[in-house]
């Protein structure tokens, strides 16, 4: 599912809210989260998961095609940890599916 399909799905569930408003809200949610990570702030969405920004040190890498050495600079990377509720729900569905064939 893509972001635009997510917007469609949410809009179909909330009939009193226009699709345009849902679109603005979904964009706001992800831009808030991007801003938080940009300022090294942790994000905790109860039941969904948490995001943290970690620093990866500079290292010597290699171009996998040519084997040539390249220096990879120090950089920030986001990490996601799945929340308890989502973890359980995703796994439960998997087990239900496998018992059904």
């Amino acid at each position: 599912m893509t972001k635009s399909q997510l917007i469609e799905t949410v809009a179909s569930q909330l009939e009193n809210v226009s699709k345009k408003d849902i679109e603005i809200i979904v964009e706001t949610i992800f831009s808030c989260m991007t801003d938080a990570l940009t300022r090294d702030e942790r994000i905790e969405i109860r039941g969904f998961g948490s995001f943290v920004s970690k620093i990866r040190d500079a290292r010597e890498g290699r171009n996998p095609k040519t084997g040539e050495k390249v220096s990879v600079p120090k950089k920030r990377t986001p990490f996601f940890t799945v929340g308890k509720e989502l973890k359980e729900r995703v796994n439960l569905k998997k087990h239900l599916n496998s018992t059904n064939g």
């Binding site: 569930q13 992800f30 940009t38 702030e41 599916n97």
Partner: protein, 96 residues
């Protein structure tokens, strides 16, 4: 200080002319829909942010790190996240 759903609701509230409870309801519905998508094993692609992918893990033998005892880790479905290049570059606009 961590950003929580309450902070996101606050931002949404400032952006659109809804009541706080309505803003909270919509934000909640967005996250609930995302959970439902992943729950049914479907990939979720948020352009400019990243992709959430459910992955099926096979049964494997792990070890209790304390006792060294071998234990079976059951087959499971997990969710992984891969950040979009847009998010990564936003995070590195100022040097880390």
């Amino acid at each position: 200080m961590a950003m929580t759903k309450a902070n996101i609701v606050e931002e949404v509230y400032k952006k659109v002319g809804f009541s706080k409870s309505q803003a909270a309801e919509i934000v909640e519905t967005v996250f609930e829909t995302m959970k439902q998508v992943l729950e049914r094993g479907e990939k979720l692609k948020i352009s400019g942010f990243g992709n959430f992918t459910p992955r099926d893990k096979k049964i494997r033998i792990g070890r209790n790190p304390k006792t060294g005892e071998a234990i079976e880790i059951s087959a499971r479905r997990v969710v992984t996240f891969k950040a979009s290049p847009v998010l990564k570059s936003r995070m590195n606009e100022s040097s880390p």
